[in-house]
């Protein structure tokens, strides 16, 4: 614990600022939930969250300059990227959906991910190996992390739906009208976004693998798990065409999808086949 605190203090101002603001935003969103209809407080929470999002972007920019390469190599760097993608996505979502539960969960996730990043902090900036020096590197990683972020938002909505199946969400449309849907409805929209991004990430990865290794698909454990997560959502999209697929079943399948994605991202070193993979993060 002492060691973690020591490492925390060694983080730069962007990191510490983002961590603090995500914490403040969590408290503000929680207060909004506690005091119903606290509209101005909600706006304050949104602003604080937005500032935290900017700081996490600032972290990536400063790290990019310092490293002289895209800072998406180590687990620590990727956790920062996830935080940035997740908060950018949430800021855009909040333009249409003001859901304090979602804000609260997302900012708490920000605190959690940054906290976890401390335990995985790099002592120094790692050199980029030859295979990662490619124009496909940034799109592949960024598209995937936006995909992961969308799956996270869908997961929060799924969990909320399972807890409060009758709760409705208000959507602001561009012509000033409002529409209402359940959490499951919102969840479905984010899954559609996630599916497009996961598909794009998978395809970009395959095309890149072809130019780097000579094979678009090598059944690498990470590739396999990316395929598995993609299949979960492909199954979801097919099941939705059947009448028997209830909102509740959809929410449960989304939770499973999120678990699969989390394992794909963070669990690869646990697999017996991890040593055969080109994708396992160092320092895991």
């Amino acid at each position: 614990m002492n060691e973690l605190f020591e490492i925390l203090l060694r983080q730069n101002a962007w990191f510490l600022g983002a961590l603090t603001l995500f914490g403040v935003a969590t408290v503000l969103y929680a207060t909004v939930l506690w005091r119903n209809h606290a509209d101005r407080l909600h706006s304050a929470a949104s602003w604080v969250f937005g500032a935290a999002a900017l700081l996490s972007l600032g972290f990536i920019a400063s790290r990019w300059l310092e490293a002289g390469r895209p800072p998406f190599k180590s687990l620590y760097e990727s956790l920062m990227l996830f935080t940035a993608c997740m908060s950018i996505l949430y800021v855009s979502v909040e333009r249409w959906y003001r859901i304090a539960w979602l804000g609260c969960a997302t900012s708490a996730m920000g605190v959690g991910v940054l906290g976890y990043a401390v335990s995985k902090a790099d002592a120094e900036i790692i050199n980029l190996p030859a295979a990662l020096q490619s124009g496909w590197f940034v799109p592949h990683v960024v598209v995937y992390f936006f995909g992961y972020s969308a799956v996270f938002l869908a997961f929060v909505a799924a969990a909320l739906h399972l807890i409060k199946p009758q709760q409705v969400v208000t959507l602001r449309t561009s012509d000033g009208q409002t529409q209402q849907m359940t959490f499951a409805g919102f969840m479905h929209k984010t899954i559609l976004l996630a599916f497009v991004l996961l598909t794009a990430g998978l395809i970009i990865g395959a095309i890149w693998a072809k130019t780097a290794w000579g094979d678009y698909w090598v059944w690498d454990p990470k590739e396999n798990w990316a395929l598995i997560s993609w299949l979960v959502f492909a199954i979801y999209l097919h099941l939705r065409l059947t009448k028997a697929f209830s909102e509740r079943a959809a929410a449960i399948l989304t939770v499973i999808g999120f678990a699969t994605i989390s394992f794909t991202y963070l669990g690869m070193h646990l697999l017996p086949t991890a040593e055969q993979s080109e994708h396992v993060y160092q320092g895991n």
């Binding site: 209809h37 030859a130 409805g185 598995i228 199954i235």
Partner: protein, 587 residues
């Protein structure tokens, strides 16, 4: 999914089935006395359907085993795949001809769910069991379980006939779904859905072509050398076979590009399991405080010297000084001494770079460099006989003394040993800057601990010898890892002794010539003239690439155009539903 009854077509596909398929089906129904000529599968739960599918795949596995016994050649896999696909197509067509049942089933939504679910399961298994090992490695790793895993083809899931049959069925399901819903899918708003399903066919088709006819292997070249053949690798058996490229490749030049060399001071911690973690990396600068000793331990480290080519000045010799309470004495190897307090000392040996060899139980010196100067002595109290005394080791390094004391071997002689190499008496001064142009980076660190005299230690990067900072933390001076930046070959494509083309290839930048791709695959750190090139000839590649793009654009189109409508939009929300709890709040 625990769904017991699965509705067949609903939603968009329900409209789609109003196409030719369903008219045919209703015709059959009208003619049939039983009223239903579909397989009753779609009435079963997903789990039951999946078990049924797994049984079919079991048959595929049995076929594979039979073929394995019957055919033993490099083409066995391709042969199997062809036969397997043929059998499945034949069975499918036969069933379709008799009652169109499999055909109908494959076009249903639940068939796709069952197929996707089974691919998912198979893929999970392929990450749980080590893939593509040789039979020997596999049985060594799995022991008694190996034959069972082998029999289920889990040792190479993705190349098993069962998995290929599964992929074939996925392709067939995509095809049938598209054919049965053709008129609906041809509408602009559904083109994306059409594209995604067609893309699966295209990608899997390209993959099959590649699987049956792609060649992949290595060309190992030295600078100036040219070769016309590459060593094509046979999957699974791993055997190599020379294969002509249709042209010759000549290696003109090879370059290994490295990142600028960097040496840093690393602090790492080691936990109970021996797993270490780098806590800090400091750039070595003169006068800088370095290291991250555990909080609470008042150790302070400062760099007092930086050596580019550390060269020891004191070799095996040097002056050995024993300090005791009340004075010090310079001693010589092989002599016996009696100290003023009566203690008898025999100086038996000197180990400049002491280590204890566990195998022979003997003290030895790793080198002549005084990294860990140690004096072997025997001591006896006044009146006792020196001959009966056991050998003892006196360490010049304070951290070694602390370590021995920590391991339950405190020094009880009352003597402190130091190696004096020069007038200032500091061990570190045994190092000096050597010849310019050679490299042996080292730093001298001054270690200050409360209650101890300041101590100067030299850390040589090549030694990787750590300083113990206490509380499980170590300090080491070393080179930053992952130094290779990129590597590239200048290669010429030759025909009839003439160079048709000369190009530089590097990782992520291959050469494509006449359908053959040439990749920069590896290098030899010990041989700057070697370059390992990978050769791939895959006729299925254009199809696979096309399939990827169709899938990407199709998915985008399908999501953007088909899902504008609210999902699960409730025409009427119950008025009792509150929009409280942090939801809504839109003015």
């Amino acid at each position: 999914m625990k769904t017991k009854r699965n509705d067949d077509h609903s939603g968009p596909s329900a409209a789609a089935t109003a196409g030719p398929g369903s008219t045919a089906a209703s015709k059959v129904t009208a003619e049939s006395p039983t009223g239903d000529r579909h397989l009753p599968w779609h009435r079963l739960s997903y789990t039951t359907q999946m078990i049924g599918l797994l049984l079919i795949l079991g048959v595929a596995s049995a076929v594979q085993t039979g073929l394995d016994l019957a055919v033993r050649s490099d083409h066995a896999l391709a042969f199997r795949a062809t036969i397997g696909s043929g059998v499945v197509i034949a069975v499918g067509l036969a069933l379709q001809w008799r009652g169109r049942t499999v055909y109908h089933y494959l076009s249903t939504v639940q068939a796709s769910v069952v197929l996707l679910g089974t691919v998912l399961l198979g893929t999970v298994m392929g990450t749980m069991v080590l893939q593509g090992l040789s039979n020997k490695e596999f049985s060594e790793h799995y022991g008694a379980a190996a034959p069972v895993l082998n029999a289920l083809f889990l040792d190479d899931v993705f190349h098993s006939l069962a998995f290929m049959t599964l992929l074939f069925l996925c392709a067939a399901a995509s095809a049938v779904s598209v054919i049965r819903r053709w008129h609906t899918l041809m509408r602009w708003k559904n083109v994306g859905l059409l594209a995604t399903h067609v893309s699966i066919l295209v990608v899997l088709g390209g993959g099959l072509i590649g699987y049956l006819s792609a060649k992949k292997g290595m060309v190992h070249l030295q600078v100036g050398e040219s070769k016309e053949e590459f060593l094509a690798k046979t999957p699974r058996s791993g055997s190599e076979k020379a294969e002509p490229m249709g042209f010759a490749l000549r290696l003109d030049r090879f370059e290994l590009d490295k990142y600028q060399q960097e040496f840093n001071v690393y602090t790492y911690s080691k936990d109970e399991n021996g797993k270490y973690k780098v806590l800090a990396s400091d750039h070595a600068a003169l006068g800088a405080r370095v290291g991250a000793p555990a909080p609470g331990t008042d150790t302070e480290l400062r760099i007092t010297r930086i050596l580019n080519n550390a060269t020891p000045t004191a070799q095996a010799g040097g002056t050995h000084v024993l300090t005791f309470s009340g004075g010090s004495k310079t001693v010589v190897l092989g002599q016996n001494y009696t100290m003023p307090n009566g203690l008898q000392v025999a100086v038996d040996g000197y180990f400049p770079d002491f280590t204890f060899d566990m195998a022979s139980h003997k003290a030895t010196s790793r080198s002549n460099v005084p990294r860990n100067p140690t004096l072997a002595v025997r001591t006896a109290l006044p009146g006792a006989d020196l001959k009966d005394a056991h050998p003892q080791y006196l360490f010049a390094r304070e951290d070694m003394r602390d370590m021995m004391a920590g391991n339950g071997h405190p020094d009880e002689t009352g003597l402190t040993y130091s190696l004096q190499a020069s007038a200032d008496g500091k061990l570190a001064s045994a190092w000096t800057e050597g010849m310019v142009g050679q490299s042996n980076p080292a730093i001298e660190v001054e270690v200050r601990r409360a209650g101890h005299a300041a101590q100067k230690l030299v850390l040589v990067a090549a030694d990787e010898e750590p300083i113990d900072l206490g509380s499980g933390r170590m300090l080491v001076y070393g080179e930053k890892p992952n130094m290779v930046k990129n590597y590239q070959s200048t290669i010429s494509v030759m025909r009839n002794g003439r160079a048709l083309l000369t190009r530089v290839i590097k990782v992520n930048d291959p050469l494509v010539f006449e359908g053959i791709s040439v990749y920069q695959a590896n290098y030899d750190p010990k041989n700057p003239n070697y370059s390992g090139l990978e050769i791939v000839r895959d006729p299925g590649l254009p199809l696979v690439n096309a399939g990827f793009w169709i899938l990407m654009l199709g998915t985008l189109h399908a999501v953007a155009l088909r899902n504008r409508r609210m999902p699960w939009k409730r025409p009427q929300l119950p008025s009792s539903v509150a929009t409280a709890g942090g939801v809504g709040g839109v003015a």
